[in-house]
Symmetry: C2
Subunit: 329 residues, 2 copies
DNA sequence: CTGTTAGCGCCTTCAG
DNA sequence: CTGAAGGCGCTAACAG
């Protein structure tokens, strides 16, 4: 393997000079920079990122800690989008991203997890899919030992930022739109997981809306499960004018129930997943650009690693009517 | 950060001795091993994998190079399963796995890719979703500079192994089963991508079957696209007794077409994806355990990195009737 | 602007 | 069986 030393010899300069041009230090004359670059090209030199990390004591390695439902829920489109967005952005910043699934750390203690990340020289972590009962992860966050960016949970401290959209407003907006379009009064709201971060926010949005429009609302928790939403719709849908769901997947469940019950009720979703297309129905939904959110999380982590303080970042969202004619058609 | 030096001091031994117990060297007395381990525990020492890699010149880092269709195809369930399986197995072997999407290397030259992997100290690569026109990747494989395991393509050389199921036989088996069950004679076969590795294999299986059972068969390429399969079924399905598809996704397309045409034809798929459940239909399909396949690929890569020769590994498969009652209920 | 030097944390002969 | 010493490839003061 050709090393920085070889380059130095070939270029007739010192090792440190090569290092400087490699890292774009200011104090290098154009002439020597030229020489060094030529030598690099001639030798086909590739800087060794591992050695650089060891020497500089900063690794540029980050972990994407993600709660994927690959087994139970068949297709976790949202998780995929998160991954894709994060990986792309990490590449952009020249960060080395390792993907870690919740399932691989679920049996570890706080110490073991810390040890794992430490041994891997991981400087920053992005967490997607955190829930309130992931105790060890909360410990990890509170320890403030790593720079962390949390997607979709409002935790901020000296070393932790959060990135998400305004779920309260988004839920308010999309439900209002759908309700007004359909002149509905009696709402069945299928919320997410009790005590979930986003679930609570979205519920707040609904409560505000109910007050404003003088609606009646029945709230039930569907745990983001298609099946549970389906059952709830069977149970309560008949005497409601509309079904508002806190996720698209649950909206699919609600729609399937309504189809089987052979009644029409407008359904309102949340997320904007493509999977909707496979079901072949239409509905209003909030579209979150998940890839963008996780990309933004990487960006924020990057800035956090440069000694900044944690902050709360709120992104925007779209409201769309899902149809996916390109797929269904 | 507590280092090996601190441990050595605490235990009252030399650095090298600590290193030896860390790496399970034979020549260490039980007594000193004891001492060292106690010191490690007391200090909460975490060996630095980066430094170890630099020093030992072997990294234990591998890359999963995967062709994910997150953008075009909405949900790439297969890719997800590949990822999950590989990541799990890598953890098992204590390998450090970095995920790289095709999209991030698609504009790179062979040199750039090599440089990238080299700079990352990556010793082995697993490739999922290779197609015949990924020229730079073929260059990478032929260069034999990295240990590579290819999933679903029959390339083997000194540093390259391949892992897959017997697609020819699987296609033969599942089609035969479905054809005999339905007493069909005229087959519409929607193949994958022209000149694709698995496509060719599966087609061979069909050809053999056609001869054996004295069937007639129309072959068309659906490029693994649901939409194209849908169109092809519209065009040719009417006068066939059965539609055999080289993927579940295309089978979904075929089913949608048949529903709209309001005719019944048995459909046969390939893959065993859960997405089928969302469509709410039934069909025979080959079930490949993608997570297992990629896990096996990691295992093979591990053995390949221990100076073994490349080989061709063929896994088994199942034939199932998809229903997913738990999801559709 | 360039070179010298001292590590980063660990592994690995090689003496003892 | 244990310890001393010399790197791995690179960075970062500090001199010059």
């Amino acid at each position: 393997m050709v090393s920085i030393k070889d380059v130095a010899r070939q270029a007739g300069v010192a090792i440190s000079t090569v290092s400087k041009v490699l890292n774009n230090y200011p104090n290098v004359s154009v002439a020597t920079k030229e020489k060094v670059n030529r030598a690099i090209a001639e030798l086909g030199f590739v800087p060794n990122a591992i050695a650089a990390a060891l020497s500089s004591k900063k690794s540029g390695r980050i972990a994407l800690l993600i709660n994927l439902n690959a087994q139970t829920q068949a297709i976790d489109e949202i998780g995929m989008q998160y991954m894709a967005g994060a990986i792309r952005q990490a590449k952009e910043y020249n960060l080395d991203l390792v993907t870690v699934f919740f399932s691989m750390i679920q049996d570890m203690t706080y110490e073991e997890i810390t040890r794992y990340f430490l041994s891997q020289n991981i400087a920053g972590i992005i967490i997607c899919g955190l829930s309130k009962d992931d105790y060890v992860l909360h410990e990890l966050i509170q320890a403030e030992r790593f720079k962390i960016v949390i997607v979709d949970a409002p935790i901020v401290n000296a070393t932790t930022s959060s990135v998400w959209i305004d779920h309260k407003r988004a839920q308010y907006d999309i439900a209002k739109k759908t309700i007004l379009e359909n002149n509905a009064k009696r709402v069945l709201y299928i919320a997410g997981k009790k005590n979930g971060y986003v679930t609570d926010e979205r519920l707040k949005g609904m409560n505000q809306l109910v007050q404003e429009l003088k609606l009646t609302m029945l709230v039930r928790y569907g745990n983001f499960s298609e099946l549970e939403a389906r059952k709830l719709t069977f149970q309560y849908g008949q005497h409601k004018d509309i079904v508002v769901c806190a996720s698209d997947l649950m909206a699919i469940g609600a729609m399937k129930a309504l189809t089987e019950m052979d009644i029409f009720r407008p359904v309102c979703g949340f997320d904007g997943i493509m999977l909707m297309g496979y079901v072949g129905k239409q509905m209003n939904t909030v579209r979150q650009n998940f890839a963008r959110i996780s990309g933004e999380a990487v960006r924020e982590l990057y800035s956090l690693m440069e000694e900044n303080e944690g902050k709360n970042i709120v992104l925007d969202y779209e409201m769309v009517r899902m149809q996916y004619l390109d797929i269904i058609c």
